[in-house]
Amino acid sequence: MKICQVERPLVSTNRIPGFEHKHLLVVRDGSTQQVAVDAVGCVPGDWVICVGSSAAREAAGSKEYPSDLTIVGIIDHWPPETEAAGPRGAG
């Protein structure tokens, strides 16, 4: 699992039907941005843990769900010094 910070929602109207209407979020892992399926209901700014590979599919709902990155938990407290790595200031 990796630790990411949620940046904002990702809007994609023209998507494959397999994604259904689940929320997609842009998350930042260090300097790279990725898109994750939200299985827990988080908001921008949250620090979250994400699973990849086949666990991501099952975590998003079923073994056939086409996700390769799924948010599975919101971290209650995360040391604030890690925020210095991202572009977001005190937000």
Partner: protein
């Protein structure tokens, strides 16, 4: 999933049967690295898309028998190039237009 820009299509007549007749798109990341993905959503050059990789790419095709490891999951409605660090106009797109 990763965010990529579509820069064109690939014609690949001689292919394994496991790929079917699916469209292949040429994608580029912000560093200029190129990728090929199967495309079930009919993305056009210039579109920003998110791609599914690994075994999930096969499920994203709606049929796990399709032998792909990168599939376009959807076209992003609004994505500014400056949203991505170090994004720059794609040389390949300019070449296509010429």
């Amino acid at each position: 999933m990763e965010i990529r820009q579509v820069i064109g299509s690939l014609v690949c007549t001689h292919r394994i049967t496991g790929l079917g007749h699916w469209d292949l798109r040429l994608l580029q990341d912000t560093k200029g690295k190129q990728y090929v993905a199967t495309d079930p959503v009919d993305a056009r050059p210039g579109d920003w898309v998110f791609v599914v990789s690994g075994s999930a790419a096969r499920y994203a095709m709606g049929n796990a028998a399709i032998l792909t490891d990168l599939t376009i999951g959807g076209i992003i409605d609004h994505w500014e190039a400056h949203d991505v660090a170090a994004a720059r106009p794609t040389a390949a797109l300019a070449a296509k237009a010429a």
